[in-house]
Symmetry: C2
Amino acid sequence: MPTHHQGSADEVRALDAFIKLVRGTNSTLAELLPPLQRDFGLTESQLGVLEALHHLGPLAQGQICQKILKSGSNVTTVVDNLERDGLVRRVRDADDRRVQVVHLTEKGRELIERAFPAHAARVTALMATLSSEEQAELGRLCLKLGRAVAG
Amino acid sequence: MPTHHQGSADEVRALDAFIKLVRGTNSTLAELLPPLQRDFGLTESQLGVLEALHHLGPLAQGQICQKILKSGSNVTTVVDNLERDGLVRRVRDADDRRVQVVHLTEKGRELIERAFPAHAARVTALMATLSSEEQAELGRLCLKLGRAVAG
DNA sequence: CTGATATATTTCGACATAGAAACATAATAG
DNA sequence: CTATTATGTTTCTATGTCGAAATATATCAG
């Protein structure tokens, strides 16, 4: 990725790796998200919320925030849309009435049980571009990078 | 990333690598974009458009689409906002009047010449979490993954 | 030249996303 | 017990993002 900017060798290398990281991620998502939308009517965030609820059981919205690493206002919006579609319902917590506990509905459970395996199969097929050693190395490098920031 | 889903070893490995890829990318962007907004008032897409114009000179919107890998309607929106802020201007092409050629303004040029080096320095500092060999390997793996999809 | 087709951009509608401010409810200090 | 502070959620405003439909202009067939 040549740039106009006059950078050191360190900068050129870092920018090159960074751009490939962002573009590679975007390319994979561009491949995975349209089928998710077409086959199940779900966005990435909606899938994340449903999967978390399916895996962990009912969660407060604040807990969902932490799981999917998005802002509180965003979780409100995503849960609004899931609730409108009948996939989850909000239950006001009796002990702490500030809290909305989000539950999967039967419809939501049925959907995530179909959608997740299909999505996982697509991810697997796509990642098969890389050998298992390469996949492990990619994961290791991304985790290291992410931890340097967030952890 | 343990999941409820009962998957093969291949699936578990692929999903693990994929989730780390997406989260690592999101974490780095979450670190880089707020300073870009606070210091220069720019979003990622706005930076991309200004950098492309600075590097390549005036471009038709369709060419910008290809450079930043976004949809045409999105480029319209981003250029709208840049134009409103006085950073670019649209010039109707005389030969093909369907085409809008986007030019940097003096204000836009001055801004990108300050913003890009600052951004590049932040990217470099963040990527320094990884050794230069690791950065190169990360870039290689992401490029391979991206090409399997888009190429 | 005219009608059909192709291309560049815009508009529209829906969703994601963040941050700031508002709001409701807890929890704590005094 | 009341005032203050903290916390969980929502609302509001601004952007990005896409796809589909609309619009403007070009191009091409005949």
